[in-house]
């Protein structure tokens, strides 16, 4: 075997099209072309602008939690565009006359990449990014506890995403869905490199996520400002803590299951094979031991976001803080007790199904508690429907519908009829689009000024909300209907004419969602163009309640000039109630921040090349990369001069400057919140 392993000319994206030009291969070649040309265009643009150097020194090597968070969100945004485009192509396929314009294989690749991307390379980096930007600011920390490891996590996720993108250009992705159940994904039935793309891109990102979980948990346990005991923590920090604990315990089953699958495929092992004593049911169990807590990893941070957006834009304290905390903890614990509901039909006894069905329905209780918390927070509040608030309200309304269908599916007897139908597909999109994406969109609209210093354009923001909201209902309500009529998931085409009108509506919905996504791109574009009039340098542009709004926007590198003493749940509200707009400084001391370093991106880069080598069976290159990766880590262990100091004097100057800025910024009333008069420091009372 050559050093290039199983890689050959036919793996290059354009070759299948040249050999056999059809619409299906044309679309595949086009997608590969977009990836290649897109990468070249970005490289060219950076070169023309002369931005390589600042990009490297300010961003790619940064260990600052805010910048790492922003890079995570950029990754999520890029992958979201691909995921939505894939969805539109699949919807178009199903409204074309059977058998459609895609080959069955190509359609299977599309739903597999769509699922894999949306979960692992949109949802996960999105929430990890928001946590990175916001959580330390909410608890009075200056950075994550392990900034170097934080950067490693980021770049491993980027590496995993790069592999999924590479599968468009070199070779194929797998065709077994995002769950990749063996024995179908074993070497006999899936002999090409597709499953290996799935395995190794997930291996990279799951290790990154485990490390992120450790980082978040330790940061929250050890870095809170003095006086902030756990029950004074902001809810977003609470949901982050529970998410982090889930990451620590739940990512490992995925890593283990996917590596076992790799051994089955390439070493002839029999973990999950259909012969020689393999047992694929172990894969299903392990996959969902990860997969179900994963659902709550995805959703809890969004719950945290809503718990800040809703009080802020209702002008009221969050209703029932304690019950919300306990509901979060209850969800986190229960999330480990329900995994069997993903395979009620696998053949275990009815008793076992009944137990897991009941456990599943139980999760509805704490989730219901949360919905009432948010509703009662809004009750008699003075509501302002900003983009973030619209997404929150849209979430509550829509998520409850998804929850109800979830309780239906939790009943094993119903599940036997709806298992693997489009009803299920509608259900989980109904949970994750409002429960994850809307939450993250709200978070970006709400917290954007912390990272960049200016607000996002409201007009395009609201348009994007309505398009997403309407698009969601049009795209997924029909799937509930035809799911109940018997349409199975993952079909390349349908021949039953009764489905057709519903599929047309779903197609229109997908286009609506695409328009919503486009509006968000326009929103960013317009906001950057008009950033002067959207600047909020004094901070706190929405009469916010959390510690993060006590800082100027954008937040300086060191976050806090002095770490505040916390005596209540809403220290910033107390400060404002006392008529002050700057928190009293405590003690100015020299602080240490981590220096930028190129090692994390190198480590992950080498790991990614190694993973690519494994996918194409280039064992020698993979071994070299594995050793190189650890040598790089070893180099870091010799680096003792990894911090730079910011002196107490600089911090004092920062504080004085911020104070002067706040004093000279005119206070404006809530009525002018969304106008260019808002330079920060919005007040409830008209001045």
């Amino acid at each position: 075997m050559s050093i290039l392993g199983s890689l050959d000319l036919n793996d290059i994206f354009i070759v299948p099209f040249l050999k056999e030009p059809t619409l299906s291969t044309g679309i595949a070649a086009g997608a590969g072309g977009i990836v290649v040309l897109g990468a070249l265009a970005v490289a060219l643009w950076l070169t023309v602008k002369g931005w390589w150097k600042p990009l490297w020194s300010e961003w790619l090597t940064s260990l600052d939690h805010k910048k790492i968070g922003v890079m995570y969100i950029v990754l999520a945004a890029i992958m979201l565009i691909r995921g939505v485009l894939e969805a539109v192509v699949m919807r178009a396929q199903q409204v074309s006359p059977a058998p459609g314009f895609l080959s069955v294989e190509h359609h299977a690749e599309l739903f597999s990449t769509h699922g894999t991307i949306m979960i692992f390379f949109v949802a996960m980096p999105f929430l990890t990014g928001v946590i990175n930007v916001v959580m330390p600011l909410q608890i009075g920390a200056r950075d994550m506890e392990f900034p170097f490891m934080n950067a490693i996590s980021l770049w491993l996720s980027v590496g995993g995403a790069a592999l999924v993108m590479a599968s468009l250009v070199v070779g194929h992705f797998e065709t077994g869905g995002w769950t990749a159940y063996p024995p179908y994904t074993g070497i006999k039935l899936s002999p090409n490199e597709g499953v290996d793309y799935w395995i190794w891109s997930l291996a990279l990102t799951s290790v990154g996520t485990t490390l992120s979980g450790i980082n978040f948990a330790v940061t929250i346990y050890k870095q809170r400002a003095p006086g902030m005991d756990l029950m004074k923590m902001p809810i977003f920090a609470w949901t982050t803590l529970c998410t982090a604990i889930l990451m620590i315990f739940a990512m490992m089953p995925l890593t283990v299951a996917s590596l076992m699958l790799a051994l089955d495929r390439h070493a002839g092992f029999h973990f999950f094979t259909a012969s020689n004593g393999g047992n694929m049911m172990n894969f299903a169990n392990m996959f969902w031991l990860f997969g179900h807590p994963e659902v709550y990893i995805l959703i809890l941070p969004a719950f945290g976001v809503f718990s800040h957006v809703i009080p802020t834009f209702s002008g009221k304290k969050l209703y029932g803080y304690t019950s919300l905390v306990w509901a979060t903890i209850a969800i986190a614990v229960l999330s480990f007790t329900v995994w069997v509901h993903h395979f009620f039909t696998m053949g275990q006894t009815a008793h076992l199904n009944a137990i897991f069905g009941i456990a599943t329905m139980t999760i509805g209780v704490p989730t219901g508690v949360k919905v009432f918390n948010w509703l009662l927070t809004m009750w008699r509040g003075k509501l302002r429907f900003s983009t973030a608030m619209l997404f929150s309200a849209g979430f509550m309304f829509t998520f409850v519908i998804g929850g109800i269908t979830g309780v239906m599916l939790a009943n094993p007897t119903i599940d036997f009829a709806t298992h693997n139908s489009l009803f299920l597909v509608a259900h989980f999109h109904n949970m994750l689009i409002p429960g994850l994406l809307f939450g993250m969109f709200a978070a970006v609209n709400y917290w954007f000024p912390l990272a960049f210093g200016f607000r996002l354009d409201e007009k395009w923001g609201r348009r994007s909300f309505w398009l997403w909201m309407i698009g969601f209902y049009l795209a997924f309500m029909p799937l509930y209907a035809i799911g109940l009529m018997g349409a199975p998931r993952r079909m390349a085409f349908f021949t039953d004419p009764a489905y057709f009108p519903w599929l047309v509506v779903a197609m229109i919905g997908a286009l609506c969602v695409l328009a919503g996504l486009t509006s968000q791109v326009i929103q960013i574009w317009v906001s950057v163009k008009n950033r002067e009039s959207l600047m909020v340098p004094a901070g706190d542009p929405w009469d916010g309640r959390g510690l993060e709004w006590s800082l100027g926007c954008p937040v300086p590198e060191y976050d806090f000039t002095t770490v505040p003493n916390i005596t209540s749940r809403e220290p910033w509200v107390d400060t404002k109630a006392a008529g002050k707009h700057v928190m009293d400084p405590t003690e100015f001391v020299d602080i240490h921040l981590p220096k930028p370093t190129g090692l994390p991106i190198l480590v992950a880069g080498v790991a990614t090349v190694g993973a690519f080598a494994l996918i194409f069976e280039m064992w020698l290159i993979a071994a070299v990369c594995f050793v190189a990766m650890w040598v790089l880590v070893l180099i870091r262990s010799y680096d003792t001069d990894w911090e730079e100091t910011i002196t107490a004097e600089e911090l004092r100057e920062g504080y004085e400057a911020h104070k002067r800025l706040v004093e000279t910024t005119p206070k404006v009333s809530l009525d002018d919140e969304f106008t260019s008069k808002n330079r920060g420091l919005i007040l409830e009372e008209a001045v």
Binding site: F146, I214, P253, V256, A267, L634
Partner: protein, 210 residues
């Protein structure tokens, strides 16, 4: 594990260079505890998989009863158990200001015992393998090689880690950073010992009895 706990605290107190409002060494060790929990999940899944495969995955291969004897695994186990004791002495000595030479001496002894453990394990793998009992034969053998092999890989990385630390001790001297690293290796090593007790019981003792 109480000795380990004491050491954790001891290393925590030695950090004094940090101007921040928290104790970096203690925090790093806390983070490492959490990492170990995550690592334990991997072992528990492999054990669960093994427990299934030793009943349902025999296929045309040997059963645990036919494959295992207790002789070599017992010697192996003793080597690893003693190594955890010597590592305990190593870190305790460090706490009470033993010389670097002494610390390194105990560490060398620990790693040597680890190497003996690993050698016996590999010899046993080799014996099984040459008898035709390779992991490709059955689900049970797959599970056996992977579970015991995963533990062996951990011991191997522990040995490499220990060697690197000895080189670094020579390079940096016995500073807070190295003490913290040594304590973390200790936690890792003791965890592997506990995991091995579970493996020895489940794989060999119960296997021979079955």
């Amino acid at each position: 594990m109480s000795a380990t706990m004491t050491n954790t605290g001891a290393a925590g107190h030695t950090a004094s260079h940090d101007h921040g409002h928290h104790d970096k060494t203690g925090t790093v060790i806390f983070g490492f505890w959490i990492f170990l929990m995550s690592d334990l999940i991997a072992f528990s899944l492999m054990i669960a998989n093994y427990a299934d495969a030793e009943w349902h995955g025999i296929a045309n291969g040997p059963s645990p009863h036919e494959l295992f004897s207790l002789g070599l695994p017992t010697i192996e186990t003793m080597a690893l158990l003693i190594s955890t004791f010597t590592f305990g002495i190593c870190t305790l000595g460090m706490k009470y200001g033993a010389s670097m030479k002494r610390t390194i001496g105990w560490l060398v002894l620990t790693l040597a015992l680890g190497a003996i453990f690993l050698g016996i394990e590999l010899y046993e793998f080799h014996e099984f393998w040459t008898d035709g009992n390779t992991p490709q034969v059955s689900g049970f053998l797959t599970a056996y090689y992977s579970l015991v092999g995963l533990h062996g890989l951990h011991v191997t990385s522990g040995i490499i880690w220990g060697i690197i630390l000895m080189v670094q001790m020579k390079h940096f001297g016995m500073n807070d950073l190295l003490k913290s690293r040594l304590v973390r290796l200790g936690l890792f090593w003791h965890m592997l010992d506990i995991v091995w007790i579970a493996l020895f019981t489940k794989v060999y003792l119960m296997g021979v009895l079955s």
